[in-house]
Amino acid sequence: MSDRPPRDPDALRRYIAELLASGLETETEPMPRTEREFAEILDQLRALDPEDVRGRLVIAGFLDHPYGPEQQRCQECIYYLVHRRWCDIPEISLPCEPDWWCRLWRI
């Protein structure tokens, strides 16, 4: 797998899916308990190179499956654009699948 992520959204989605399926360790915890903690994660994401997709996945805590007792997933997250299959948080701005999850999830 090349280190340079593809630009085409579908190719990028497949690239991310492969990364997650290959066991990429991401920071699923701690979940941000306060808006300040949420903002600190966003600050970390902003500090990344815009090309650093892997870094974004790690810091945001991406998983390729639902998470937690309530089985939270992108499909219900307010940042998720259902038709584009896209995470619309400016600091993430990546293609996603509805059954994925990250710790910036909110409903």
Binding site: Q75, I78, Y79, P90, W105
Partner: protein, 320 residues
Amino acid sequence: MANLLWLQGGACSGNTMSFLNAEEPSACDLVTDFGINILWHPSLGMELGDNLQRLLRACVSGEIPLDIFVFEGTVVRGPDGTGAWNRFAGRPMKDWVAELAQAAQYVVAIGDCATWGGIPATAPNPTDSTGLQFLKRQKGGFLGADFRSKAGLPVINIPGCPAHPDWVTQILVAVATGRAADIRLDDFQRPKTFFASFTQTGCTRNMHFAYKVSATEFGQRKGCLFYDLGCRGPMTHSPCNRILWNRQSSKTRSGMPCLGCTEPEFPFFDLAPGTVFKTQTVMGVPKDLPEGVDKTGYIKLTVAAKAAAPKWAEEDIFVV
């Protein structure tokens, strides 16, 4: 002819600026068409010094009948209950307010500061500020919970930061033309004609609210501001999207979250860092849900709405 006196306590003059920009009716219309005689106003009054004191004393004594007493800004009680941090016309403003409120047929509080204390009364409230008949959500304020003006009404509260100019002038016209009995007030003494509906009522983003598409940055034309940017439109009583600002727009229409400035708790969360322009959540669920909606219902609604969301809801449909 109805005599109106307007004074300012702990205020930024924002409500005066708003009032002077009124259109339907305008401040001039109040005088020329509706028989309101503006005895004195901080930006319009001619009297200064001894002349102003004489005018105010005449209002207190009844020599000049005071029909409508309008107050803008907080009643400043500090330091130590003296009111000395807000002196006006030779004495603490709070003393004028106490006497003028007793002399007036109607008392109207304009803006958040006069209604419930607003920003100056936010903790730690260094000036010991309060609204005329409320301190935040607690009834009482400076005049006391049982206060009634000579006409038998409590203080008429027109909140907002600032209040919309037309809310102000329309209520003043109603009072001045003998229709005060038609003004129905809610539990916070706000005229129901303006404050029974929500800021969200009439918002152009309602379709995005319905399909759970979030705005993520200020000024975006797509998306609802409630989910991420702290918009309080679904929980705030105001007609901001029914009676537009400058007849053109509103905060939410232009991509700015509603701050909930017509509610007693404004500013929310005592302006703690990270609480302004950010929807407060607990494990991803908003702390403050739209009025009357519980968490279970909210989650069910979200699941259904996301599943049903049409493609256009994700796009900017306001093409220039």
